[in-house]
């Protein structure tokens, strides 16, 4: 086994949670270590942990201080983090339909202008991406994806929008993301997917897991409308490619 590189920092988040921080920046290698620690904890549970929340650069570990102290849990987390992570074999890969531009992606043309290229070129580069769910947060099912082509990196909007549509796929900074519910956003809206990453009364309620691989397939607005109706009725319109 290779020598473990920099151990993570243990940051107190109150008396009932520890932030295990691997990096202070968005960093693909750090995110892989976050997801690896999450898998190790799932495989070898530690008494007192109530839930874990993976993010880009850290794993938030909620625990019950009646069962375990900060110091004792911290030691166990560092030991788990130093272990060889379980392999990523079996990573699920999703193919998600998206209709780009027009009423469903109102920022596509402005993004093309800002990046001095054509909307078709933006679509081609975005749809060619091989993404990974780095974290899910903010609102139910809002999936932050890493792996955005560097040529699509663009600062967030100066004025966030108070409402953006359900299913929006957008870019912001060096990230792209799939949101499930309508809500506020400061990102640039490229398109929409009929896929519900979160749907109550469906099994599973949450479609994507942190660590899942994602690719996009461009579909036309008519296909979007058909799939949107099917998805509303509870059908899966995302395609599970592997395993």
């Amino acid at each position: 086994m290779a020598e473990p590189i920099n151990p993570p920092r243990l940051l107190p988040s109150g008396d009932s949670a520890i932030t295990v921080e691997f990096s202070r920046t968005i960093d693909d290698a750090a995110n892989r270590r976050v997801l690896a620690l999450d898998r190790v904890i799932a495989a070898e549970p530690i008494a007192g942990i109530t839930e874990t929340v993976p993010t880009y650069r850290s794993l938030l570990v909620h625990y019950d201080p009646v069962q375990v102290t900060f110091d004792a849990l911290g030691e166990q987390l560092l030991a788990r983090a130093a272990k060889a992570p379980p392999s990523e074999v079996g990573t699920r890969r999703w193919r998600i339909p998206i209709t780009y531009g027009g009423e469903h992606g109102i920022d596509l043309e402005d993004v093309a202008k800002a990046l001095q290229t054509t909307p078709d070129d933006i679509v081609a580069r975005h749809a060619a991406g091989d993404y990974r769910v780095a974290m899910i947060g903010f609102t139910p099912g809002w999936s932050y994806l890493s792996g955005l082509d560097k040529s699509l990196h663009l600062p967030r909007r100066k004025e966030p929008r108070l409402v953006t549509p359900a299913g929006t796929i957008s870019i912001g900074g060096i990230q792209t993301g799939v949101q499930c519910l309508a809500g506020p956003s400061g990102w640039h809206l490229l398109g929409r997917t009929p896929v519900r990453t979160y749907q109550l009364h469906r099994d599973p309620t949450f479609l994507l897991e942190p660590g899942d691989a994602v690719t996009f397939t461009a579909v036309d607005a008519k296909t979007f409308a058909e799939q949107d109706r099917a998805a509303e009725a509870g059908e899966f319109v995302a395609e599970l490619v592997t395993p």
Partner: protein, 344 residues
Amino acid sequence: MSKLVVTSIGPASSVQDGGRPGSQRYGLTPSGAMDRLSLAAANTLVGNEPFAAVVEIGPFGATFTARGGAVRIGLAGASRNADIGGRPVAFDSSATLAEGETLNLGFARGGSFSYLAIEHGIEGEPMFGSLAVNARAGLGSPYPRPLQSGDELKTKAASSGAERRIELPAATDAPIRIVFGPQDDEFTEENKQLFLDSEWKISATSDRMGYRLEGAVIKHRDGHNIVSDGTVNGSIQVPGNGQPIVLMPDRGTSGGYPKIATVITADLGRFAQTSAGRPFRFKAVTMAEAQAEAIKFHALLHSLPDRLRGIDDFGLNIEALRDANVAGQAVNAVDVSTWQVALP
């Protein structure tokens, strides 16, 4: 089938319970009562599980009418003028509305949220094991939104048991205790000290997602944009304008502002009850102290059934003393075993 009909209610009032932890990794916020001790006390008064669903009532008044039979209720949290058809009702006690009677609740005094538990609980369809309203995510039952007049809370008919009251620790005005972190290193020692030395007020624009603080401007060492990471109830994040926001049970599960400190578990409910505009301070404690307090708070929640008393078991009217605003001293001066006033 009895029901409690909401005949009038103000904003920030909704069905809440212990919340729905366990799915924060999917972006699902836990929600749940702002003041868990008062939630558990109200439920204990009517024989419910401590974290069963209740009505969390915001600062304004509200009225409820029993239909289809008698309804027994337990009241805890921020106290108010309360009566049932003109009969005064005390907080931290149970009471029964006969069919057709109306419970009138005034404005909250000395707090923001009151808790109305209904004996046998509120009927609803649990979502992720909880009836708690999270309006943004469309969750909650029987209504996935704040309560409105005309809403009906279905339950079973009141039992014939005696009314009870519950003896809770005296209220305190002590500073709200915090532990620094997770990102206190984004702030200079000078600014951390300023955070502790300042007098703060909660802004009127606060809600169940977060309490905005007004007071000193807390400056960051190098900018206010960090990479989003996970949040907890009580996370104190500092956005670009330097005015902290304390994250509450409807918070986003992740956030991108540096978090200077976290309110300790034992003080979360007391902090949630701090009225807008009322000055308060923070006090830093060590992790060991915070965890010892969390364990004591856990024990307090589990001691509630032992704190029930008969409604008439006093030699003096504690509620009247509390209303006269001398509660802290007066209640402490009563010997709990005899309910006689102990002279200092």
